[in-house]
């Protein structure tokens, strides 16, 4: 009999979310909760024997007591339905006191305290001591084991995966861990907490590794480890459908993994270039509608990156007109919000004379254009001694040139646009 589990991670309840307005952020926050509820409902309907939560269930400093109660009630609901719950703590929900010497919220929830809210089927792994629990069927037979270890602080850098070893027995063995596997896609945006190598995962001998920390759902190549991703995208960086993994594990067999979506809304990013033919915002609507397709979508927060020359550049660069266009697009596309990014947009103009006529402006334009290019380090050097804000790396820093170059992306066009007299803009 396969060991059937629901693998979720990185719920990040009560985390700070993206959204351009407080109203949108409230919607996204509610969506994070809804995704958790969706996961619970799926677990209750999916005949799973265990729910694995691979850390970062919440952001400890941001967790409200109300959400803590909701989270606790959710786990107890699962337990009441006979589903084993295994939750290992991550760097955002560490198991011990790290915030100004106070105990972490994972401890305060009291889920591992029988005197408080503890339940025999709810297991919280919040220490560096590995533990294994057996999941039993109704008739008492062990259908699987879960071995896990938790983060105790928000900056655990020890390789916790090495502490885990497959328990003896014939039951399918699942490991649960919040970790960052080196050299894995999607990890570049995440801090290296409790890092491990793929080799560690392979050597441990588990039938399935339920991982958390990386918010992108996917398998760690060459292993039986999967990142569940987070159930709900929280900002424009976390685009697309999100959810968890429904897994079936048998000893000695590759796990059967079925992605399931729990997100209540989606962040999407569309990049549009070659906009020379756009003369009216309605044409932009048509292009976007074509890019998004006609399928029924979840509520969406859409980010549109516009690039290149277009007759609409001037109007879209003006904040008021851009806001109007965004509202019209949101309405036409039936999405929650549309954000137009016009940084890379430039107007269609003939600057032949400008480029053919020697002038200080032309020199400056050429300088900026060259500096923005990766290989124009010498040109950048002329700009490096400018007094910049504290945001910039200090002079002499190896990152300063890169910082300056990032600032100079599109600067040449901007200079040209600024140099144009009012009538010419």
């Amino acid at each position: 009999m396969p060991f059937r589990c629901l693998h979720i991670a990185d719920l990040h309840l009560d985390t700070a979310v993206g959204g351009r307005t407080p109203e949108l952020r409230a919607i996204v926050r509610a969506a994070v909760h809804s995704a958790f509820e969706n996961a619970l409902e799926r677990a209750l309907q999916g005949e799973v024997q265990a729910v694995l939560i691979a850390g970062d269930a919440f952001d400890d400093p941001l967790l409200t007591q109300a959400t803590a109660a909701v989270f606790r009630a959710g786990l107890l609901r699962l337990a009441a339905a006979g589903i084993t719950v295994a939750w290992c703590t991550g760097n955002h929900d560490p198991g011990a006191g790290t915030v100004r010497g106070r105990p972490g919220r994972a401890a305060l929830l009291g889920l591992d305290d029988p005197a408080r809210h503890g339940h025999p089927l709810v297991h919280v792994f919040r220490s560096h001591r590995p533990a294994t629990i057996a999941v039993r069927a109704a008739h008492g037979a062990v259908t699987g084991t879960i071995t896990s270890i938790g983060h105790t602080s928000d900056c655990d850098t020890e390789n916790l995966a090495r502490r885990l070893a497959r328990p003896a027995g014939e039951a399918p063995a699942v490991a649960l861990l919040h970790t960052q596997v080196d050299d894995t896609a999607g990890t570049e945006d995440h801090a290296r907490y409790a890092p491990c190598a793929r080799r560690d995962l392979v050597d441990a001998g588990f039938d399935y590794w339920a991982l958390g920390h990386v918010h992108v759902r996917g398998r760690v190549p060459g292993t039986v480890a999967w990142y569940a991703g987070n159930p709900q995208g929280r900002n424009a960086k976390e685009t697309g459908a999100r959810g968890g993994l429904l897994i079936e594990v048998e000893k000695g067999e590759p796990p059967r993994v079925e992605p399931v979506d729990f997100c209540a809304l989606r962040f999407e990013t569309v990049r549009l270039a070659e906009l020379e033919s756009l003369h009216h915002p309605d044409e932009l609507t048509a292009r976007l509608a074509s890019a998004l397709g006609t399928a029924k979508r979840l509520p969406t927060l859409l980010r549109v990156e516009l690039a290149g020359a277009t007759p609409l550049a001037d109007s879209l660069r003006r904040p008021e007109q851009r806001a109007e266009a965004e509202s019209a697009l949101a309405l036409a596309l039936d999405v929650l919000d549309v954000e137009l990014c016009t940084t890379d947009l430039r107007p269609v103009r003939d600057h032949t004379d400008f480029h053919n006529t020697p002038s200080a402006l032309r020199e400056a334009h050429r300088l900026l254009g060259a500096a923005a290019a990766q290989d124009a380090l010498l040109s950048v050097a002329e700009l490096e001694d400018v007094e910049l804000s504290p945001e910039a790396p200090p002079p002499g820093s190896p990152d300063r040139a890169a910082y300056v170059r990032r600032r100079l992306v599109g600067a040449a066009d901007e200079l040209l646009a600024r140099a144009l007299s009012e009538g010419q803009r």
């Binding site: 700070a16 967790l63 109300a66 200080a360 020199e363 910049l388 804000s389 945001e391 600032r407």
Partner: protein, 925 residues
């Protein structure tokens, strides 16, 4: 671009003029008001159009009323050798027409635009560099001129529609300073965001702390609730223990009391030997009941005390008299002697008397007269001896009849007749006795006796009468005289009898009249009496006092009023009578009740005394039997309650265990409700061990106090958990992130602007390095040539300082171009700067003519002469047009650079309005 020909139809002072300009250098010479400025403006207008583009506002529109269309036609040649005809016209609007040389100018006019080849050279640049007057050589402190120099030397010139680098730099510097600056002057956006960010971070920390505190609170709440549960259980156990302890003590007391009760003689209660049953009841309610019954019985008695007042003697007298009046009323009603009846009686009296008078007057007139004077009630005929006369008459007639009967029928016929008369008389007498008053009865009886005697005599004297029948008896005669009877009536017995009959009839009439009168009198009297009685009664009843005029109060009203009064009195009397009966009954009942009450009280008192004595032994504190009884009742109730408690206590397992320990079964104890007796070792009741109840109470108080505190604290914690308000940490974190993003964007925007600004500086530097040296070198060479080596080395060392400097070769130092340097030298520097710029400007542009309009007026002849070679060198790429009003200057130019001379004649003095004169003749070149 060269200007080959210029035809002026109308433009300022020039009207219908034509200038052939096919050459490199020209000098336009003419006195003041000859049209040199018009010519200068016409050249610019050919290139760039009319400015302003309205005829009314244009300074060179025709003066006076002759508003003509401004029109210029020129032939120009571009650098590539193409020749164009240019027509500019300013009528209602300004227009431009172009045509190849040799083609006709046709087609619609274009707008007032510059020539296509001049798109890269704006009019301002033309004016600043190519078309100069002495006014253009101003001091560099003029902003416009300075900008021009900047443009000339810093590479901005030639960019159509572009703002100057200096303007851009200033704009960028201002903008970036608004975003961030190290000294934070002006409160830049960065500082503001940092402040807000600090606030948000502080609020976020506080919110996070608050949430964490809430979590701790929740845990504390759970602990508190758990302790509350424990303490509640302990308190419950304590309560039970204390309850048990108190119960035990109470049961002990009850045991003692029960022993005392058992010694009380209660034989007075329950079944009595006489078969009655006396319940042990509270006498107080019974006494209350009896008291209530007595009060109920005394109520009618109290009501009776009022009745005698109502039934006073006066009222009874009134009642009696009212009855009499009622009786009178009844009689009055029966006799129908009301007002109308009384009148009838009077009428009857008068009628009967009149009839009697009439009858008497016929037989006895004198009697009649006496009768009329008699009172109505009198009966005067009765005093007359009519009976005697009638007897005599009848005797007389009997005699006569006897004699006749004897004669005819004998005596048998007389006797029946006499018998009839007798009977009649007896009847009359009886009737008189019955109907008439006494005296009439007596009179009737006398008459009857008299008639009887007369009959006896008549019968005895029958024979004698018959004898005497034939004559008038003397008695009759004497009686007739006494009576006053008319002698005519004495003619025979029948006549006498007839007269007597009439008199009798009159007498009867008088009798009836008297009766009627008497009745009327009686009615009148009765009415007066009744009225008097009414009034008396009314007066006594107080009715008359009710009115202001008692005498005017109608008597008719009095009966009704009195009747009402009497009815009231009668009702009162009747009520009093009824109450009296009721009172009698009530008093009897009351007496019986009092007796019963007394008996009951006596019995209760006896019982109480017995109880009191008994209870005094058991309850020495009770002072009275009532208190003792109440105490007894209370104890009974208490015992019942405690027995119930004991039953509950007996059901408890621990007690059952205790009982079991003592060898008794709980069931048995519960069934018999027996309180376990003292054990063999002397301890009482179901005690486990001696327990200090006070200590238990103190412990309970402490526990309760702790529970109160804990529950209050739990309530506060729960309320705090429930009412958590305010921005959540995640919201604050979002705001913090948003501010961080804004701060980062702000700083990055600043850095970008700073880099742009720096790029402009670098661009300027590069441009100057690449191009400025040529311009300055050419300008310096010109200056050295013009000043014969006295000055040179024009430089623009610091764009920010915005100062031109030259080198004084004589003094060997650098001199700032400005006062106290002479004006001529300053103008020469400015001109040389422009001459040096021309080559630079020509790159990528159409070379334009250089027009110097009186630009050399401040120059000395030597330096003017030194300029001409330089100008001649320029003619290789452009035309040079000089304008002067000085013939000497014109000649110098002709001689110096071989310029063709164009002379303009003087002003037309014929214009009477004094306006600018029209130039009359054609140009002479």
């Amino acid at each position: 671009m060269r200007l080959l020909r210029l035809d002026v139809e109308c433009f300022g002072a020039l009207v219908d003029r034509s200038f052939e300009l096919d050459g490199d250098t020209f000098v336009v010479e003419g006195p003041n008001e000859a049209g040199k400025s018009s010519f200068h403006a016409a050249v610019e207008t050919v290139f760039y159009g009319f400015q302003p583009a309205t005829r009314e506002a244009h300074p060179y529109a025709t003066w006076g009323d002759d508003r003509r269309t401004l029109r210029l036609v020129a032939l120009v040649e571009t650098a590539d050798g193409a020749r164009w005809q240019v027509e500019r016209r300013l009528a209602s609007s300004a227009g431009l027409r172009l045509a190849r040389d040799g083609e006709a100018l046709a087609g619609p006019f274009l707008g007032n635009v510059a020539l296509p080849e001049l798109q890269g050279t704006p009019r301002a640049l033309f004016r600043a560099v190519y078309s100069l007057t002495a006014n253009e050589f101003r001091e560099p402190n003029d902003e416009g001129l300075q900008e021009l120099i900047d443009e000339l030397l810093l590479g901005d010139s030639g960019l159509s529609g572009m703002r100057s680098v200096r303007t851009l730099r200033a704009e960028l510097a201002e903008e970036r300073a608004r975003l961030w600056r190290r000294d934070n002057r002006g409160d830049p956006v960065d500082r503001r965001l940092q402040r807000e960010l600090g606030d948000v971070r502080r609020a976020a920390r506080e919110a996070a702390d608050a949430e964490r505190q809430l979590a701790l609170d929740e845990r504390e709440l759970e602990d508190t609730n758990r302790r509350i549960e424990v303490e509640c259980a302990a308190l419950e156990a304590l309560e039970h223990e204390l309850e048990e302890c108190e119960l035990r003590a109470e049961l002990t007391r009850l045991q003692r009391l029960r022993a005392e009760f058992e010694s009380i003689d209660l034989s007075g209660f329950g079944a009595q030997p006489d078969g009655t049953h006396v319940e042990l009841e509270d006498p107080v309610p019974l006494a209350h009941e009896l008291r209530a019954a007595r009060v109920a019985l005394e109520a009618p008695t109290a009501r009776l005390a009022v009745a005698p007042v109502l039934a006073s003697a006066r009222a009874l007298e009134l009642l009696r008299r009212a009855n009499a009046i009622e009786h009178l009323q009844v009689e009055e009603a029966e006799d129908r002697h009301d007002e109308r009846g009384l009148q009838d009686l009077d009428e009857t009296t008068e009628t009967e008397r009149s009839r009697a008078f009439d009858l008497v007057r016929g037989f006895a007139p004198t009697v009649a007269e006496g009768l009329e004077d008699s009172p109505p009630g009198s009966r005067s005929l009765s005093s007359l001896p009519l009976g005697a006369l009638r007897s005599a008459a009848r005797a007389w007639r009997g005699t006569c009849e006897q004699r006749a009967a004897a004669l005819a029928t004998g005596q048998r016929r007389l006797l029946p007749g006499l018998g009839v008369v007798f009977v009649g008389l007896c009847g009359a007498g009886a009737a008189a006795l019955t109907l008439a008053p006494l005296w009439l009865g007596v009179m009737g009886a006398a008459l009857s006796v008299t008639a009887l005697a007369a009959l006896v005599l008549l019968a005895a004297t029958d024979g004698r009468h018959s004898r005497a029948a034939a004559r008038t008896p003397a008695a009759i005669a004497g009686l007739a005289v006494d009576i006053g009877l008319d002698p005519a009536c004495l003619v025979g017995p029948d006549a006498v009898l007839d007269a007597l009959g009439a008199l009798d009839e009159a007498d009867e009439a008088l009798g009836r009249a008297a009766v009627s009168h008497a009745r009327a009198e009686r009615v009148t009297t009765t009415r007066a009496t009744r009225h008097a009685l009414w009034r008396s009664l009314a007066d006594e009843a107080g009715l008359l006092r009710l009115t202001d005029a008692p005498q005017s109060l109608p008597v008719a009203l009095l009966p009704r009023l009195l009747r009402e009064t009497l009815d009231a009195a009668r009702d009162a009397t009747r009520s009093a009578t009824s109450d009296a009966a009721e009172r009698a009954s009530a008093e009897a009942t009351l007496a019986a009740a009092r007796q019963l009450n007394g008996e009951l009280r006596a019995r209760q008192r006896a019982l109480h005394n017995g109880l009191h004595r008994a209870l005094n032994r058991a309850l020495p504190s009770t002072a009275t039997p009532g208190a003792a009884f109440e105490e007894l009742q209370r104890l009974q109730h208490e015992r019942t309650v405690w027995e119930g408690e004991w039953r509950q206590l007996a059901r408890r397992p621990r007690f059952a265990a205790l009982v079991q320990e003592r060898g008794a079964s709980a069931t048995e104890s519960e069934a018999t409700l027996d309180i376990p007796e003292a054990t063999a070792d002397g301890s009482e009741g179901p005690e486990r061990a001696p327990v200090d109840a006070d200590e238990l109470r103190r412990q309970r108080t402490r526990t309760r106090s702790f529970l109160d505190d804990a529950q209050r604290k739990a309530g506060e914690l729960a309320e705090r958990l429930r009412t958590r308000r305010g921005t959540t940490p995640s919201e604050l974190r979002e705001r913090e992130r948003q501010l961080e993003d804004e701060l980062r964007d702000t700083r990055q925007a600043h850095d970008r602007l700073a880099l742009l600004e720096r790029a402009l500086v670098v661009g300027e530097r590069r441009f100057r390095a690449a191009h400025q040296p040529d311009v300055l070198r050419a300008a310096s060479e010109s200056l050295e040539a013009i000043t014969a080596g006295r000055y040179g080395g024009i430089d623009y060392p610091d764009p920010d300082a915005r100062r031109l400097v030259i080198r004084s070769n004589v003094r060997g130092e650098r001199v700032t171009v400005g006062p106290p340097l002479s004006r001529g030298v300053r103008e020469q520097v400015q001109l040389c700067l422009r001459l040096g710029t021309l080559e630079h400007l020509d790159r990528g542009r159409e070379p334009l003519p250089l027009v110097l309009d009186e630009a050399l007026v401040h120059w000395d002849p030597a330096r003017r002469a030194a300029l001409y070679p330089t100008l001649r060198a320029l003619t290789a790429r452009r035309q040079v047009i000089l304008m002067t009003c000085q013939p000497d200057h014109a000649r110098e130019a002709v001689a110096g650079i071989g310029a063709r001379r164009v002379e303009l004649s003087g002003p037309d003095t014929r214009d009477p309005r004094g306006g600018p004169p029209h130039v009359g003749g054609a140009a002479r070149t």
